[in-house]
């Protein structure tokens, strides 16, 4: 059956686990900043969050990052409070890890700005302590 996929999954799971470590800054995919961290990107272009939501789904970003950009085993959390826009674009164009590249041909800078706006608009999660199911 799908043995190649299985090998890739196993390798990918290991790689993703490795890439999420702060010990590999040269290949670590950027993760959204913790809520409350200032996102001082001086030149973030205006984007449309509604359009960004549609683009996020249509261009398959959700497949690794989840429909809310919340992340999972295949990709890190992107929102709310994404990394600065310049870094976001740079990584999407030329990812250093396993993420497939999105060139200008398939997603324009404006479209990325719309996606960025969508990620910025993701709701903050409830405090962990307020969720009994996540209690110690």
């Amino acid at each position: 059956m799908k043995t190649r996929s299985a090998h890739i999954v196993v390798a990918g799971a290991v790689i993703l686990a490795m890439l999420s470590s702060p010990a590999f800054p040269q290949t670590k995919p950027p993760t959204a900043q913790a809520p409350g961290t200032a996102n001082a990107a001086p030149a973030t272009p205006a984007g449309n969050a509604e359009k960004g939501k549609a683009l996020f789904a249509r261009n398959a970003c959700y497949q690794c990052h989840g429909y809310e950009g919340q992340g999972g085993t295949a990709g890190p959390r992107l929102g709310p409070n994404p990394i600065p826009f310049r870094g976001f674009v740079a990584y999407v164009r030329v990812p250093r890890g396993e993420m497939p590249p999105y060139t200008v041909k398939v997603m324009s800078d404006q479209e990325l700005a719309d996606v960025y706006a969508f990620l910025q608009a993701r709701p903050r999660p409830p405090a962990v302590e307020s969720i009994p199911l996540l209690a110690r």
């Binding site: 059956m1 790689i15 497949q63 989840g66 429909y67």
Partner: protein, 658 residues
């Protein structure tokens, strides 16, 4: 083949016929064939027709007065015992609880002997709807019980169905005991048997089974059956195959014929050579950042206990790669969720039954031009203890890349741990103990921080639709945490990794590892097989079941219902073969085209499959589809009530993809 053993019986019948000139209708059919010197009258009697290529004898039998007045000689159509009865004696001697099968005529005699002669007890026949399900059930059972289940199948078409599941078990190094039917004697085959017979039945799976045989006699069968078990359970464990000729099964067995069954003596697994073990202990005690990495280590419940003892003696980081339940998930030394950083900082890495040492200390980047880079730092000592070095096959490439090891011990990891612990304890001085304590504190803080980060991560998209995998796993755990639970899913199905990040796994049966070969379709039947093993202990078996996996052979749900196997399956339903969808997506990105079309061929939508209805149609309590996270808890609660009544239940939950 075996029928040749009874040629004397046939010849006697033929001589009697020739002497008496039997006149009955059946005899009229038998007579000509016998007169013609056919190899056996059986083919003629069975279907009332003669073999096409058998020469026809004169139609008028020789008549005598004695023949006209003597009562007709009856055909022998029944027998009190057959070879298959003895086979059941042997199977019972091996202590099998169950035997899984989708029925097939090539093993019809053995099947009947199991249910009648054997009383359908020890083993009890488990009815399966697909041979792949039967083998995967045996795979899952073995993960809990540590010993194999037998599976019966046709030697050709059944084996072909079963092959992927056998490959999974092989890659996972788990014993499965396959019994295949075959009809070797070409002259005696019924029509269908031609398609169900082969000269070398086990050939198609020989590359991923450990041993196979086709016995020629019942004493041969007895020896091979016991030998097969012994080989299957000797590490490295793996599937084995016995091919049973139809004639050997079906031919009469004289009731006074006594046949011996050899005694089963399972070899003690090999331990590491003492000097090598001492060297490993020396390196571990002297190390500043030793790391113990376990994959297929825990062969028995003692495996986890020994690893805890070793880790605590050293206050060493432990990474559990998860092919077995190797280490408690919330143990302060468990660094699995920060594996990459842990390996990067290690000066000694000991791999304990790793399927893939190379990927433990290296990374491969899957982009247009693949590249690799080391993860372990230069100069780190790399040590392997594995039975994998004792037995490697060539064709299927599950042996992975060569690693640059400093020391390799070809021995069983679990069996070697006690002597390693003893050596470590002997070498540990007061000074080193103080260093260990500081290290242990540091690791405990890191482990706690990682768990906090996991809890925080699970809170994102908490109320999202589709339901987040973090929410799904938290809701499920909330209802089972105080039960004697056992998670019988694979790593594919473990809901985004949340269970091992957040749940408290501290018992050997709470985790059964993964598929081995990554062949999808393992999950559902393996969970049913593991649940079958758990049933007698009163454990609550739960699985996080993926949708695509279930669709390979959903009939296994019927098997669970029919055999009253309690199992709570909570679906991670992302309406796709999602892993493959991501692969195709990657290709679209790479080719700068059609990104929005990457779902084609991998989605399971339009229509959406109604898994609750599917489950109900197969006799399983079904809930769903659940799309609102607020409805999840009550649905799980209702399903759990059914499981506690002894039934299987399934909750279809529409989820985020990962």
């Amino acid at each position: 083949m075996a029928r040749s053993k009874d040629s004397k019986h046939i010849s006697i019948d033929r001589r009697k016929f020739l002497k008496n000139g039997v006149l009955t209708g059946a005899a009229a059919l038998v007579g000509p064939a016998a007169l013609a010197g056919a190899e056996s009258p059986s083919a003629a009697v069975a279907g009332g027709t003669l073999p096409q290529d058998a020469p026809r004898a004169p139609s008028t039998p020789v008549m005598t007065l004695a023949a006209e007045t003597a009562p007709p000689e009856a055909d022998v159509l029944t027998t009190e015992r057959t070879g298959s009865d003895f086979m059941v004696d042997v199977i019972k001697a091996l202590g099998f609880e169950y035997i899984c099968a989708n029925p097939g005529s090539s093993f019809r005699a053995l099947h009947e002997s199991i249910i009648n002669y054997g009383g359908n007890k020890s083993p009890e026949l488990i009815t399966c709807c697909h041979e792949e399900s039967a083998v995967a059930m045996a795979h899952g059972y073995a993960k809990i019980e540590g010993k194999p289940l037998p599976v019966m199948a046709h030697g050709t078409v059944g084996l072909q169905h079963a092959a992927m599941a056998i490959y999974n078990a092989w890659c996972d190094r788990v014993p499965v005991y396959l019994i295949l039917g075959n009809n070797g004697d070409a002259v005696l085959r019924r029509a269908a048997e031609w398609y169900h017979s082969a000269q070398d039945v086990a050939l198609m799976v020989r590359d991923y089974t450990k041993w196979d045989d086709m016995p020629w006699s019942l004493p041969h069968f007895a020896e091979s059956a016991v030998r097969a078990y012994k080989i299957a359970v000797t590490p490295p464990m793996a599937p084995v195959v016995l091919v049973l000729d139809g004639g050997l099964q079906e031919d009469p067995l004289a009731s006074d014929r006594k046949l011996a069954i050899p005694r089963l003596t399972v070899p003690v697994p090999p331990q590491g050579e003492s000097a090598a073990v001492s060297e490993i202990a020396r390196l571990l005690v002297a190390a500043e950042n030793p790391v113990l990495v376990a994959d297929r280590l825990a062969r028995t419940p003692a495996g986890m206990k020994h690893l805890v003892e070793l880790a605590e003696a050293l206050q060493a980081a432990v990474i559990d790669q998860g092919s077995r339940m190797n280490f408690p998930s919330l143990h302060p030394l468990n660094q699995t969720s920060r594996a990459a950083a842990t390996i990067a900082g290690a000066d000694v890495v000991v791999g304990l039954e790793l399927a893939d040492f190379w990927s433990t200390v290296n990374a491969l980047r899957d982009q247009l031009h693949r590249s690799t880079r080391p993860v372990a730092k230069p100069g780190a000592k790399l040590i392997s203890i594995t039975t994998g070095d004792l037995y490697v096959r060539s064709n299927y490439q599950d042996f992975r890349r060569m690693s640059d090891l400093d020391l390799a011990i070809a021995a069983d990891g679990e069996a070697t741990l006690p002597s390693l612990i003893e050596e470590v304890t002997r070498l540990t001085t007061g000074d080193r103990r103080r260093v260990f304590q500081e290290r242990g504190k540091d690791l405990a803080e890191k482990s706690q921080a990682a768990r906090q980060a996991s809890r925080a991560a699970a809170s994102y998209a908490w109320d999202a639709v589709p339901i987040s995998t973090g929410r799904l796993c938290a809701e499920l755990y909330g209802q089972i945490r105080n039960e004697d639970w056992s998670l019988v899913s694979t790593y594919y199905s473990d809901g985004g990794g949340w269970p091992r990040r957040l749940w408290n796994f501290d018992k050997p049966y709470q985790w059964i590892g993964n598929a081995g070969g990554g062949g999808i379709g393992y999950g559902a039947p393996a969970s049913v097989g593991a649940a079958l093993a758990n049933r007698k202990y009163g454990r609550l078996s739960v699985s996080i079941q993926t949708d695509g996996d279930l669709m390979y052979a959903p009939g296994v749900l019927w098997t669970a219902a029919h055999h009253r196997i309690p199992l709570l399956s909570v679906m991670h339903n992302n309406r796709s073969y999602h892993q493959e969808m991501m692969h195709v997506q990657k290709m679209a990105n790479r080719h700068d085209r059609g990104i929005e079309r990457g779902r084609i061929g991998s989605e399971l939508v339009d229509p959406n499959i109604d898994y609750a209805k599917l489950a109900q149609s197969l006799g399983v309590h079904g809930e769903g589809p659940i799309t609102d996270p607020k409805d999840l808890g009550p649905a799980i609660s209702r399903a759990l009530a059914a499981v506690k009544r002894g039934e299987p239940a399934l909750v279809d939950v529409v989820c985020q993809p990962r």
